[in-house]
């Protein structure tokens, strides 16, 4: 039995009825009176100088209300990281990828807007384009941004310990190179927004976003709107996975068009535009050299990485840091050197996607560790356990593992998959493999330099006493965060979940940095708990005075007031309550004092009862350059075992089972934790086996739809056995930490290791398509 009344259980999600019945409102369901439709003109060329833009024909088309270009939008640079603001709302001098935004139109309907877009004439001088890392880094290569010669968007050089000296002391040193492919997160709902600039000069943007707060700031800055005039509201969102974690051009364009026309303007991406906008996982090329002792002790890692960044920075500065820093754990690693380079290419920008920066690095390293274990004749599980960190350990790059159930996760999947009776004993074509990983529970610092709280929450009791209302600017994007915070508030106040109502995703509700870096459960959760405790205290303080009972002798549980000592006579309060609610159907007649009565009495004494909560991480991490990226108040960790069957003649892989353990500190909603674990497996499996955004030699995405960009179907999904490990994180609300991203880390390398076990040959490039696996098997047979 759990010691908790609400959390640590399987709660029905608050949004389940609305979503199950189709009543949940997404952007595409929304209309406002007089609403116009917007459309974007996007570059058909990968690299070109803009000579002239003529919008006259478009402006004359009946039904067109506004046509805007860089002349109207201005040239204020923006982006994700203030260190690399390299985008403007519309291109003015050059276009840098197929899809780069040149102009936007608002018209009475979408067909007219699209026709107007086709009437805008752009004279261009086509420039040579660089479409991969080698071309972009070649001597004399065309340069995308004059400020970044050599097309190096960002580079990171960090060393902890002395790697060269340490490698000399090793008994075994191995080097491997690995590459993944550019991804698309393939969320169900393409980005969309509805901008409404009203007659008082206030701008409200409804948007399918993960980060109302950052969008609000970007709108204010780029559109030069005064403080306090911009509000961003997030309706239900059909997934984001990192791609919706920054303001996009369409949001800015819709707002500009609404400001120009004085009417609401709605815009949506098509699925093709989702691909051409990009901002999902980069392609990484990793070269890693790992040195170990004979007994399996890991001594040093030398790591070089190149990222194909696309045309703009987006989240890329953080990405290139993360791909190095996230190898600091979960194994004891005293010496680590990292050289990372993010390279501009004439393709859509890449950004953050689930497991930001760490997924390909983890895949490369966990496969290499298995290779080393094999050479040392050690069992991969034993090899990992020998090097594992435990709670309280600090990585060489100053990441503090304040809780870490990594060892427990490995033991759980080893035993849960019957590893010992399978490893090394399966017939040809069958394989088993394991891997580990960890991830932050929220970035330690906001994206812009600030002392801001990362999350604020307000809890207000309804004046009739019946309900607690929770207001948070956090972003429910399908992951279940609304339910999580309602559960935390209910638990902290001592009331039932059904006595909580929650509103979220509105910048008017406070500050919340949003749904990225797996931060909300820990950070927003802290603020929610604090606000709830504040309200509870206010109610108990009033009761204490009214009944002359010390607060310490009272509590609230299951929406009833509990008196710890003698029977307390509260009949006076009950009589007052009932007198005020004559004729109401649910007045308490007998039994213990209800929370509703107490809340009403508190209101009568003090007016509206409002509690507030806030959270900001303490000072974290080291002092070196880039130390901020990778810091977090807590780290979640995972281990998985994959079991596969490989068709040795066709190269087709079937993932039969995944045994999946994740340490989430404490599960608030058990069902949601498992859902994140299984969802992570699905996304990792897709990247491992199928997914790749492909381009032609002119920089066009050639598989910009979900029939040719192949995410897993239900038939591709293995049976997943989720095992939750709880480590009681000291920095988390009720001990909770992340699950949304750490859970993806082991999936790809576990599959890679299992495929090796099945076919006897290592593959160092994703995805593991039938052709690539077949080729590897053929090459191996030839060698023999």
């Amino acid at each position: 039995m759990s010691e908790y009344n609400v959390i640590n259980s399987r709660a029905t999600r608050l949004d389940a009825p609305a979503k199950a019945t189709g009543k949940a409102v997404y952007i595409d369901d929304m209309t406002l009176p007089g609403m116009l439709y917007g459309a974007l003109l996007q570059s058909p060329l990968a690299h070109a100088r803009i000579l002239r833009i003529d919008t006259s024909k478009a402006c004359k088309l009946p039904g067109v209300k506004s046509v805007v270009t860089a002349k109207d939008a201005g040239l204020i640079k923006y982006g994700v990281s203030p260190a690399r603001y390299d985008e403007t709302l519309f291109c003015h001098d050059k276009v840098r990828y197929v899809g780069d935004e040149i102009a936007a139109v608002a018209a009475v309907d979408l067909a007219t807007a699209l026709e107007a877009v086709s009437l805008i004439q752009v004279d261009c001088e086509e420039l040579p384009a660089v479409l991969d890392i080698d071309a972009a880094m070649a001597d004399g290569a065309p340069v995308l941004h004059n400020d970044y010669p050599g097309n190096v968007c960002a580079e990171v050089h960090a060393e902890f310990g002395d790697v060269e000296a340490a490698l000399k002391t090793c008994d075994l040193v191995r080097t491997t190179t690995f590459k993944n492919k550019r991804q698309d997160a393939a969320f169900i709902e393409p980005q969309g927004c509805l901008a409404n600039y009203d007659l008082s000069g206030n701008l409200t943007l409804y948007s399918s976003t993960q980060v109302p707060h950052y969008v609000q700031r970007t709108l204010s800055m780029v559109l030069q709107l005064p403080i306090g005039r911009v509000r961003v509201v997030k309706p239900y969102v059909g997934g984001g996975f990192g791609i919706k974690a920054a303001a996009n051009h369409m949001e800015l364009a819709a707002c500009l068009l609404s400001m120009k026309t004085g009417k609401p303007v709605k815009m949506n991406f098509t699925r093709e535009q989702v691909f051409t906008y990009g901002r999902a996982r980069h392609q990484f090329i990793h070269t890693m050299t790992t040195g170990v002792k004979k007994d399996g002790t890991i001594v040093a890692l030398k790591h070089q990485c190149h990222l194909d960044g696309g045309a703009y920075s987006s989240f890329g500065i953080a990405t290139v840091y993360y791909s190095g820093s996230l190898l600091g754990g979960p194994y004891k690693l005293p010496n680590m050197k990292y050289d990372g380079y993010r390279i501009y290419t004439n393709k859509p920008a890449c950004g953050a996607q689930r497991g930001h920066g760490g997924v390909a690095a983890r895949a490369c390293w966990e496969q290499q560790l298995d290779m080393i274990a094999e050479e040392l004749k050690m069992d991969p599980a034993e090899f990992r356990l020998k090097n594992i960190m435990v709670a309280g350990d600090v990585t060489c790059n100053d990441l503090n593992m304040s809780s870490l159930g990594m060892k427990e996760c490995i033991e759980a999947i080893r035993d849960g998959s019957d590893w010992k009776s399978k490893k090394g004993k399966l017939p040809k074509g069958k394989g088993i493999g394991m891997a580990c990983g960890f991830f932050v529970s929220g970035a330690g610092y906001p994206i812009y330099r600030s002392d801001t709280y990362h999350g604020t929450v307000m809890v207000k009791l309804t004046e009739d006493g019946g309900k607690a209302l929770v207001y948070t600017a956090s972003a429910e994007i399908g992951q279940g965060s609304d339910t999580t915070f309602a559960m935390i508030v209910a638990e902290a106040m001592g009331i039932r979940l059904e006595d909580v109502r929650l509103e979220s995703g509105d910048t008017d509700f406070g500050v919340d940095l949003g749904a990225y870096s797996s931060r909300q459960t820990l950070m927003t959760g802290h603020a929610a708990k604090e606000a709830a405790e504040d309200v509870k205290k206010q109610v108990l303080d009033v009761l204490s005075k009214e009944l002359n009972v010390p607060v310490s002798d009272m509590d609230i549980r299951n929406s009833f007031v509990v008196f710890k000592k003698d029977n307390v006579d509260f009949s006076g309060l009950r009589t007052r309550y009932i007198k005020e609610h004559r004729g109401w159907t649910d007045n308490p007649q007998s039994g213990p004092l209800t929370f509703t009565e107490a809340a009403r009495i508190a209101y009568l004494a003090k007016g509206s009862i409002v509690g507030t909560g806030k959270y900001k991480p303490p000072q974290l991490g080291g002092k070196y350059k880039g130390a901020a990226v990778g810091t977090s108040p807590a780290y979640g960790c995972s281990a998985q075992v994959a079991e596969v069957t490989v068709d040795m003649e066709t190269g087709q892989i079937t993932v039969d089972n995944i045994t999946d353990a994740h340490d989430c500190g404490r599960a608030i909603n058990v069902t949601s934790v498992e859902a994140q674990m299984v969802g992570s497996v699905s996304m990792g499996l897709g990247e491992a086996l199928f997914e790749e955004v492909k381009f032609d030699n002119k920089g066009h995405v050639i598989n910009a739809d979900l029939s040719e960009y192949k995410i897993p179907t239900m038939l591709d999904m293995p049976s997943v056995k989720p095992i939750i490990v709880e480590s009681d994180e000291p920095n988390g609300p009720f001990g909770a930490k992340e699950v949304g991203e750490g859970a993806i880390m082991p999936t790809i390398p576990a599959i890679l290791n299992a495929v090796y076990d099945a076919i006897g040959v290592r593959i160092h490039e994703l995805p593991l398509t039938p052709e690539r696996v077949w080729q590897a098997i053929c090459d191996c047979q030839k060698e023999k």
Binding site: L110, A111, L114, T270, E649, T650, Q652, T654, L689, F690, K694, I702, N703, S707, E708, K710, P712, T713, M714, L715, D716, T769, P770, E771, W774, Q775
Partner: protein, 292 residues
Amino acid sequence: MLLPKFDFHAPETVNEACQMLSEYGLKAKLIAGGTDLMVNMKKKILAPEQIISISQIRELDHLDVSGDRILIGAGVTVADLCESKTIAGYLPALGQGANNLGTPLIRNLATIGGNIGSARPAADLPPGLMAYGAEVVLQSKAGIRTLPLDNFFLGPGFTALQPDEILTEIRILVPPAGSGAAYVNIGIRKAQDCNLVNVASYFALDSNGIIQNARVVMGCVGPKPFRAVSAEKILIGQKPDIQLFEKAGEAASADSQPIDDFRSCATYKRSMVGVLTQRTLQQAWTRIKNQE
């Protein structure tokens, strides 16, 4: 994505539909499930002015055994094929194609006529149908003609169908005792995929257990699904066994004409023709043996 503008017609008889086609000619497109046409219209690849739906024509919905022939109306959905006992009993290779086509949602809409008429080289139903020696019935205002399915496909998206003709029915002789067939396809993932290679094989034994007739049909490895003639020659006159199937697979590989494309390279596809030919022949043989 917006559809181009069009007029919509929903005739209730084949004759009415033929009348409309003769009137509108190339300005018209037939629609049944629309799983191919709608995609191409949204992508602005096609913009027919007139769309003639054949979904209301009940005379296209039949699936019967009539004498020695199995008759399948062109409007029969792929889901119907999946559920049909007739198909499972007589034409399991066609059933395998149907069960591997798209997703349940696509199968509920897509029709056998559409899967043939759209003439995609990677389509799931034509190899099985050709392996069984199917004929198609083409009807216009001028009358009815029949054509072996082998001669129907001309290239990707191109068929022998005239602009005023409707594909109304597929006819297949009931396979004789001692015959069997199978279909296998492979893609990148397990469903909802454009095939990389698909093969259907059929053979019939005489009373001495000698292969007297064989058809091996390959998809995805040429501009249209086509027969692996040298593989068939190797099979005919021989007793079935694994070595023979292996040789037939090698011959089919040599017969195939795959090209490199963004889904896969030709070398892989050519090799897979061999694997799938062997596997389909093996399955067909198992089916024959199970009849005994």
